[in-house]
């Protein structure tokens, strides 16, 4: 069985390329004024984003070529998770403190955020775990407990950085994966129970979280009661109307909306491309969701299935949560919009995830089992290969 045989899922790959291109354009538009003012050139962030996008595509290409099953060999997922825990714990010693939170390792040329890495390794680990335990998952002690231990320790480490939003994404993604596994619903509910007091505890210790949420609640009656950033975000979206103001015609990017090219780029996009534009973006993420779930059914093995679920949910859920924050459906948290927001490491890890996803897509059962066409194309490929090697 040659892992490089099957065809790539063009719908998935195409959607992601479109999103990346839209991302570059909107990052340019949203950051131009800030870049002009702070760096003397409008394209400062644009070039960086292009470089990162190329790197991300390159990474995607590498992981697309590597058989995803390599990831589960030799207990690699376990190593991955150990490295993750070490990195997260190391933040308390070596991490650089930015805005009161230790979330990054400063590597000189870039800031490395271990929680991004943690998301990926946790997804791989969970996929590996859920696939290998099989029926044992239905028993709590022997099945779920090791997984829950890992899950709680990683989430706790992220919470105390503090980085509530990433912790919640981690919990949500692993929750979905667990939900789709054979684990008993009863056990999942049991796991959810301690989460409620934990949230209350964190909210009480971190007052700013409480302020955010209360301002979010009060803003439901009058959007202008909102915190500055969300208010400006809504103004931007609202100004867009149905068709938008057109590319480059955002006014909110003139320093009205903070983080206009990172976490709140979706608002600028909505201002320039309107309701039509924002709807298209959301539909593109729905396409990713659909293709990802389709993959989860067709992957050749359980590891691939869970991997596909985890990676897909990580993209789609993050995108929807970001869109909700920008449009005030959820209280403000600092998470970027996948593919659209400016940011290097984020794009790089997305590239890894999508690469794995695409690799799974070319190994679906359907393609391997299928008929003459597949046979024919196999032969054709072998033919070309001989031609190439002969050359």
């Amino acid at each position: 069985m040659n892992p490089n045989n099957g065809k790539i899922d063009f719908y998935l790959a195409g959607t992601i390329v479109i999103l990346l291109l839209i991302g570059m354009i909107i990052v340019f538009s949203a950051s131009s004024m800030m870049a002009q003012s702070n760096y003397g050139t409008m394209v400062y962030f644009f070039w960086k984003q292009i470089i990162w996008a190329i790197l991300a595509i390159f990474t995607m290409g590498i992981f697309y070529r590597i058989d995803y099953r390599i990831l589960k060999k030799n207990k690699r997922p376990l190593f991955g998770i150990l490295i993750t825990i070490a990195l997260l714990a190391g933040l308390y010693v070596l991490g650089s403190k930015i805005n009161g939170a230790r979330r990054w390792y400063s590597l000189g040329f870039m800031n490395f955020q271990p929680s991004e890495f943690a998301k990926l390794t946790l997804i791989i680990y969970m996929a590996y775990f859920l696939a290998s335990r099989g029926e044992k998952l239905r028993d709590f002690k022997s099945g779920l407990l090791p997984l829950v231990t890992v899950l709680i320790s990683i989430t706790a480490l992220v919470i105390f950085q503090p980085d509530m939003s990433t912790a919640m994404i981690l919990a949500a993604v692993s929750g979905v994966m667990l939900f789709l596994s054979r684990a008993k619903l009863r056990h999942i509910v049991l796991l959810l129970l301690p989460v409620v007091p934990l949230i209350i505890f964190v909210l009480q210790t971190k007052k700013y979280q409480l302020v955010r949420i209360s301002s979010w609640l009060s803003a439901w009656h009058d959007p202008m009661q909102n915190a500055y950033q969300v208010k400006q975000s809504l103004i931007g979206l609202g100004r867009g109307g149905f068709f938008g103001q057109g590319l480059g015609h955002s006014k909110q990017k003139f320093f009205f909306l903070p983080d206009s090219h990172t976490d709140f780029v979706f608002s600028i996009f909505g201002e320039e491309f309107g309701f039509i534009g924002t709807s298209i973006i959301l539909v593109l993420f729905l396409v990713i969701f659909y293709r990802g779930m389709r993959l989860a059914f067709r992957a050749p093995d359980a590891f691939g299935k869970f991997l596909a679920v985890g990676i897909t949910i990580n993209i789609v859920l993050v995108a929807f949560i970001n869109a909700s924050v920008v449009s005030m459906l959820l209280p403000a948290t600092g998470i970027p919009m996948p593919f659209l927001s400016y940011g290097g490491s984020n794009l790089l890890f997305l590239g890894v995830g999508v690469g794995i996803l695409l690799n799974i897509s070319r190994q679906t059962e359907e393609r391997r089992m299928s008929s003459n066409w597949s046979e024919f194309s196999k032969k054709r490929e072998q033919f070309f290969r001989t031609v190439i090697t002969a050359d």
Partner: protein, 693 residues
């Protein structure tokens, strides 16, 4: 249901799909709510935060007399306020305020300690005091400039000038009728803001500069106006009269040299005066003139060659009945010549002399003298007067009109008609505005004297002048006579008519005197009307002396050296100070925006510093100094210089951080720079740029 091979739980997956689809649906609904339902509201909020329209008020034109004395001008006054939280040195500021405003230091100290961001310290402060406070250079002091219409001569010509409301719109008088010319046109600037409230010039909306109003130059002579106001006041007071009016006119052009009403009205405090005092009664009030009209009856008789000045008439011993109406004289005259009838102002004599005057002819003469219609002087609210068509005249109408009853005139009509008697018979249209002048000094809309028609011949004019000389020398107007100057005139004592009781009142009069000076060379027609005098009532008694004093002082004035034009100096200040104060607060402007705005307004400026944004503006007497600062954010980073000229590049660079080295051509556009844009520069570095033509 669970497939052993299939590790994904299908049921749970469909639940997940439903949840994600629901999430998506909620997002779409929410976006629809924000982007489409609330689009208008949020767009408006967005608009308000990034765009601002600034009205650039136009300078309201001044009103000047014929020598350029400012009679109405817009001046700036300042309100001083402070932001107590921003005050740097409270003690020093309080001491300075106390010194400048003559109030206690502790008062200001208390004000400056208040827990607020804005507090008024002193209002309506003049420029000199403001300069002293500006010298403190404290960031907490706020200076607000306001425009105020100012009438430097107070009540002189108050009713003529009129006044403006708080928004500087003309409400009455010249201010009203020349509202359009004086007001100019307000300009508008649409500015664009960014988040930190820096201002950009919005190229889509060029600044529309304010068009300054034009200055109105009057024919009024300020000095004569003052004399007339003074003498009218003392005349009214001496006669214990209610009100008075006076007009001085140049008989050879119709130019009004003075127009005065008593009681006085000071437009600086217009809100303190009742409505009837604000009215310019010289043109708005119609009255029966009485004997002063006899000159026009005489003019008609002489011009139509019906009578000669030597014709004699029996005056019926002072009482003469026509139908049911008895006309009386003040003295029982017997036989009098035409000349003596005029000099003694005999009603009976004049009525009998005009017996042969056909009503239509008489009417035509009166109409030709301008009675019964508006003179069309450029003042608001002018009355036409009252003159009935001859077909409607009763049996006694001709007799009544010949002695100045049954005819309604305005003081201005009367004066203008007398000018025609004196100047050889030409009726000039009276005018009060000589020309308008634009801010650039171009004279527009110059009023040329306009002869409406010739009413009588120069010969008749000479005879009538001679009759009027007789009035002053021998007749009823002796009290108007001057020692050095020969003057002529005619008195009038009209009984007032009670419209309620429909009868003439025996104890209420309008005393008047209309005359000219000098007899040999008439330069002034002066009409004085004293309404309801209580101390004597004959026109010769109450109005004659006023005429006398006015003429006396006007002739003295010409011998005296002309007063230096003091007001003219204020005027220069006004001119230059106003456009500067029109400016919005420039601090925070992008330098290009500020320069565009200043060029548009034609204001001289200097730019100090090399920054991209205006840090501060110092207002000098007639030019601005714009202090610029580099944008804080980019001073340590290398800007992108490619595509700029060297000069532009130098403006962008923080020269403390960069040493410039040139490559390539001596001039042209920068094609290359040695340090990449955006690079942080820690210490002074050489930056090589390549220029190419």
């Amino acid at each position: 249901m669970l497939n052993r091979d299939d590790k994904i739980n299908r049921l749970r997956l469909s639940i997940l799909v439903v949840i994600i689809a629901g999430f998506w649906g909620a997002l779409e609904i929410n976006l629809f709510r924000i982007q489409i339902v609330n689009h208008d509201r949020l767009s408006r909020i967005a608009y308000n935060q990034y765009e601002k329209r600034i009205i650039l008020p136009a300078r309201r034109g001044s009103i000047c007399d014929r020598n350029g004395h400012l009679m109405a001008a817009t001046s700036i006054h300042y309100d001083i306020a402070a932001d107590p939280k921003m005050i740097k040195d409270r003690g020093k500021a309080a001491a300075c305020f106390a010194r400048v405003f003559n109030k206690s230091e502790s008062y200001f100290r208390g004000q400056l300690k208040k827990n607020t961001h804005f507090i008024y310290l002193e209002r309506k402060v003049d420029k000199k005091k403001v300069d002293k406070i500006l010298a403190l250079n404290d960031p907490g002091i706020i200076i607000l400039d306001n425009f105020r219409r100012d009438y430097p001569f107070g009540s002189d010509g108050g009713q003529l000038l009129g006044f403006t409301d708080t928004d500087d719109h003309g409400i009455s008088g010249l201010e009203l009728i020349f509202e359009k010319e004086l007001a100019g046109e307000a300009g508008e600037a649409v500015l664009q803001y960014d988040g930190p409230r820096r201002v950009f010039y919005n190229a889509d909306y060029p600044i529309r500069a304010a068009l300054s109003g034009n200055d109105v130059f009057l024919t009024i002579d300020k000095n004569i106006q003052t004399i007339v106001e003074d003498e009218l006041e003392s005349g009214v007071k001496n006669a214990h009269a209610a009100t008075g009016m006076a007009v001085v006119l140049d008989p050879y052009s119709g130019a009004v040299l003075s127009m005065a009403n008593y009681p006085r009205f000071n437009p600086n405090r217009q809100e303190d005066y009742p409505l009837n005092v604000k009215r310019n009664r010289v043109i708005t009030d119609v009255f029966e003139p009485g004997s002063t009209l006899k000159i026009f009856t005489a003019a008609s008789l002489l011009q139509d060659r019906l009578r000669n000045t030597d014709d004699i008439v029996f005056c019926e011993n002072g009482s003469y009945q026509i139908y049911d109406r008895r006309f009386t004289d003040t003295k029982k005259y017997g036989w009098l010549s035409f000349r003596r009838v005029v000099e003694n102002s005999s009603n009976v004599g004049m009525i009998k002399l005009s017996a042969d005057l056909h009503p239509k002819v008489f009417f035509r003469y009166l109409k030709n003298f301008g009675f019964g219609e508006k003179s069309l002087i450029e003042l608001p609210g002018e009355a036409a007067g009252f003159l009935e068509q001859p077909m409607n005249w009763s049996g006694i109408s001709r007799a009544s009109i010949s002695i100045g009853y049954e005819i309604g005139v305005t003081a201005l009509q009367m004066t203008a008609a007398y000018a025609a008697i004196v100047n050889g018979g030409y009726l000039y249209r009276p005018f009060v505005v000589s020309h308008l002048r634009t801010l650039e000094g171009d004279i527009i809309r110059k009023t040329e004297p306009e002869v409406i028609r010739q009413v009588i011949s120069p010969e008749v004019s000479d005879i009538l002048k001679n009759l009027m000389l007789g009035v002053v020398q021998r007749g009823t107007g002796t009290r108007a006579a001057l020692q050095q100057i020969n003057v002529g005139g005619k008195t009038g004592t009209a009984k007032k008519y009670d419209h309620k009781r429909k009868q003439y009142l025996n104890d209420r009069y309008l005393g008047s005197f209309v005359g000219f000076a000098s007899y040999e060379q008439p330069k002034y027609i002066c009409a004085v009307f004293i309404d309801d005098p209580r101390n004597g009532y004959y026109g010769g008694e109450v109005a004659g002396p006023v005429f006398n004093r006015i003429i006396h002082r006007i002739f003295n004035l010409q011998q005296a050296p002309q007063l230096p034009i003091l007001a003219g100096q204020d005027r220069e200040e006004n001119r230059t100070a106003n456009p500067i104060s029109d400016l919005p607060e420039l601090a925070g402007f992008n330098i290009n925006a500020a320069v565009a705005l200043l060029d548009e307004k034609d204001i001289k400026y200097e730019i100090a510093g090399r920054g991209q944004y205006v840090k501060d503006v110092a207002k000098d007497k007639n030019h601005l100094v714009i202090k610029t600062g580099p944008l804080r954010l980019n001073s340590d980073r290398t800007p992108n210089l490619v595509g700029l000229t060297l000069k532009e590049a130098l403006n962008r660079l923080n020269l403390e951080k960069f040493k410039i080295a040139l490559e390539g051509d001596r001039s042209g556009i920068i094609t290359m720079q040695s340090i990449k844009p955006g690079t942080m520069v820690e210490q002074r570095t050489t930056l090589t740029v390549r220029l190419a033509n």
